[in-house]
Symmetry: D2
Subunit: 324 residues, 4 copies
């Protein structure tokens, strides 16, 4: 059986690195090129830690789209649209875009959240991979939305912490170790760009949904992971809520509902989102842990690829958790 | 001028250690004894890091209350009441209790939050030092409560992260480095014991206040500090809210209102609570950073001592921030 | 093809957890039982993070040795000898002991360092898995020893840092997060128990070797990994030394010689030891990074299992590096 | 009594920030200006964390040397010489340079290591403040050098870890949180620039000393502190060695010899170097913990200032250790 030929654009960034760490061991694909303007000619291992001894790939300065079956776009936000303005797309080429450029499902892109859009992704030619925060927050709310049980009015409150890898490879003051270590801070409160894609999905599932999501993103002092804390009013009791979540995710291999409280490291270095549901008074508390680079980015991209290629969703994603 | 003579009970715990690190350099006090059942006879430096070369104090197995002017009770919750069942209190002895035993203001104790109760603390014989979370959350809400502007109904949402020192010196699974490092988790959601003292203070300031405080405590992967994120509906616009906070804290040396977003390390190793106020739509966002062992415990205890002794509140508390 | 049936003794510890995280995805084995006295009846996921949704294994209170092909002993040091005093060993049963009980190659055990003893391990019925520090230090010196180029007299100086998981699951003062975070300290200098097994291997390769290894172990403020820094006098120039190391490890998939300086996270969550060699004046500097729970423990145990079973050494060990 | 007027050049860097955090509470000085080209006009608190509410200082674009008594040069290495090429120095102006420009004692500068050069510093008009690594390593060796007991030939081996603040405020790849967190790596082995000043001091104390110091600097995954591990041959037994160190440092308030093994956090946020001495076979093991920004930089600069001004060395340096 021939392997699917893969190309990667934006090969020097964090999401491309994580994609490479996954695809190198994926049994059904081979990497045709990893394009990087700034690192062309250099070995991939010079940039991406942990791959030494496992690959001889060299960053390429060309990206022959006609030679591949599927393209991952890993460039910065805005660059994906630009890429398609400057390059023509072969007919049979599948595309998964990790930037936010097409998450509004423009240009025929399907929003690549498998737990919401599995069958649409299966048939898709183009998939827009969700944002990291957006994935954790949506997975915390999908079962309620699908059942039409999100509050019509009233607040949905979300506080979510992200690891420093969410800010990308370029060093800056808020990713400086001297500042970030042991530190906590808030950024973009109530205005984070992921709110748009969250609202899109939730209103697709629960037409008429228009409650405010009060989202306070927090910079955490760890490198990998997102931990989301969601509270909202609900008429369900705890048992009903837990059943709703377990039923909804029964066939989703990477959305795991835990009977015990979750901690971030249960999800780190896996493609899982680990979800826990409690009820206190009239408030439902949903917590969700994921790895921002895996289920929140490159892992989900591989999951989408698997679905688009008709493979088992888990192919190449049975990862050893780091646990510590 | 004679110095105030100090005794400490429960000398081997974290709050006693921090108290010692403060009092050793306090110009108006001398430490008469540091009592510890488990460490009697050992040098204080054998337990409390950072003091080597600065003190020759030895843990004592006696606590002669008649020899001192002021007693700090640093034992575990519940042990302060027990201590007074087993010991008689000299008439002139002032007491500051760092446990939660008398935070309900029973037995004549005054709740020792200077930003709310300054004049009552000044005249007090017994002070119950507030909880660490309780301090940060109250300082985030006091100006509104004092103005009668807390919402009568509707939610006050609080997510607050604490450092591992909040869990005390005894090792356990959730303070094991292998687990805690790079990890995030929720505990006691909606049920944390500090909610009681918060409600007491707020309803003293704003009679009739009875809104729910939805408090989700979070274990952070740092040793020192509390970072509180508070959101609530408010009719004030941002300018009015900031002015309200600045006016309320105008004479409070340790409650600092910042015009810029705060980060945890602005407060670490100081006795300050650094507070920031923003408005987004109808939501007020208040963030507050403090050091859980200082403004959240032993620093506030020294501040209370200063007030009780008629000293400048800042005496012994002009601390070099660690900053990094 | 029938899978190899595996039993695990001491199932609640860190090395057993890591073994489970590996074996669950190993294509050639199935886990027959995971024995734990203290956790019998509980799901394995209640103790071992990251496995939720991936296994339904329950800790067992029996260990039917006749039902399995290979046994991993993951108990504390000293308990392996005791286990064999209390249990009789079926003839065909292969054993890999992760404790230090048989690292002296007593009782027919082969010391399980594949880069030194590959062919002996292949034929072995019993393997004693090396210590974590011992692995890193030996891999830093093997090529020299095999060439008879370790200094006959003079010092070999080793400083090596270990993650907190090296100290096991039981909480204690030196693994308390409040103490360990951002902290560095030395323990067991010049006397660490791993020196014995290091000396054994080196003198097997270079008969007559008897130089002192001045080993200062250091507690690092991270959870996973060992970073060893080795300096010694050498007559080789840098080019010769690098060639010696690359040649020696040419067929060793998990000993990777890097042309650039290494950092710890290049090895974390992989079974690799990443090694770098430099020459300064008459001093050779060898640095080696490994994951203490993988190449330093459970990963190497699986590597040894693969060799004993005649499988590709890498089976089940093509792990996604965590990288961050 | 009039206070000493202080000027600071290079006010936006880490050492200037730490100096400000110290001098703000120093009873004998007042800060006349803090010069910063890049931040002129901005409040000092906009750059230096932890000072909010404690100072209204504004970064200045002028540096009127005639208005001050003592100048701290906190610019990057090389800029101090340049500064004096471009500015003329008033006769009475004392200078403390934190860069390495004059650590060779050129231009009349005295090398500002008080534990070696107290009386020369007392009379000095110009002091070159030692490097951070250099301080820790020299304090580990001074008593031996002063007694003429450093080995004439043979190795002195030093491995020392530094916090990320040692790399300065400018973000880069090795201070990126995503890379540095939980990571360990070596840099500039055997060639670190501090070796020069170390050799100078040691040969001043022990004429003829010319042994190699094999120094391997290590990047630690913490923000503050240096932990040095020094091993060397010695004819002293442990008791003699400890006595030598205690005697040598008897009158040095900031060099504390500990009877127990030291850990880094015993020194963090203090101006102390905490030193421990052990003997193993023929090897002396000296470990030394200091805060790189305090005893390793700005704290030592204030100590030097105190000595130059005839004040108690400890003035303004009785700091609360952070301990955690």
């Amino acid at each position: 059986m021939t392997k699917t030929k893969i190309g990667i654009i934006g090969g020097a960034g964090y999401t491309a690195g994580e994609l490479l760490r996954l695809l190198i061991n994926h049994p059904e694909v081979e990497i045709a090129f990893v394009h990087s303007t700034s690192n062309a000619g250099e070995p991939v291992t010079s940039v991406h830690g942990g791959l030494l001894g496992e690959t001889d790939l060299i960053f390429s300065d060309t990206h022959p789209l006609e030679d591949i079956d599927l393209l991952f776009l890993c460039s910065a936000h805005g660059h994906s649209r630009k890429f398609w303005e400057e390059n023509s797309r072969p007919d049979g080429l599948k595309v998964i875009d990790l930037a936010q450029d097409f998450r509004d499902e423009s240009e025929g892109y399907v929003y690549g959240l498998p737990e919401a859009n599995f069958s649409r992704i299966r048939g898709a030619r183009s998939v827009a991979n969700p944002g990291c925060f957006a994935t954790a927050i949506q997975l915390s709310l999908l079962p309620l939305a699908a059942a039409g049980l999100l509050p019509e009015k009233g607040d949905i409150n979300v506080t979510a912490l992200t690891g420093s890898t969410g800010a990308g490879v370029k060093p800056g003051s808020t990713t400086h170790f001297s500042w970030r270590n042991d530190n906590i801070s808030v950024y973009k409160p109530f205005t984070h760009q992921h709110l748009k894609e969250i609202a899109m999905t939730l209103s697709q599932l629960q037409p008429g949904f228009s409650s405010e999501i009060n989202f306070v993103p927090v910079r955490g002092d760890f490198a990998r992971g997102i931990f989301a804390i969601v509270t909202l009013d609900s008429a369900l009791d705890e048992e009903e809520a837990v059943k709703l979540y377990k039923d909804y995710y029964a066939s989703a291999p990477f959305a795991v509902v835990s009977d015990s409280p979750v901690d971030l490291k249960q999800a780190v270095n896996t493609n899982k989102a680990v979800i826990h549901v409690e009820k206190h008074g009239r408030k439902l508390l949903v917590t969700c842990a994921e790895d921002n680079l895996l289920k929140g980015a490159s892992g989900q991209a591989v999951q989408n690829m698997n679905i688009m290629l008709g493979l088992d969703q888990r192919e190449g994603l049975r990862l050893k958790p780091s646990a510590f």
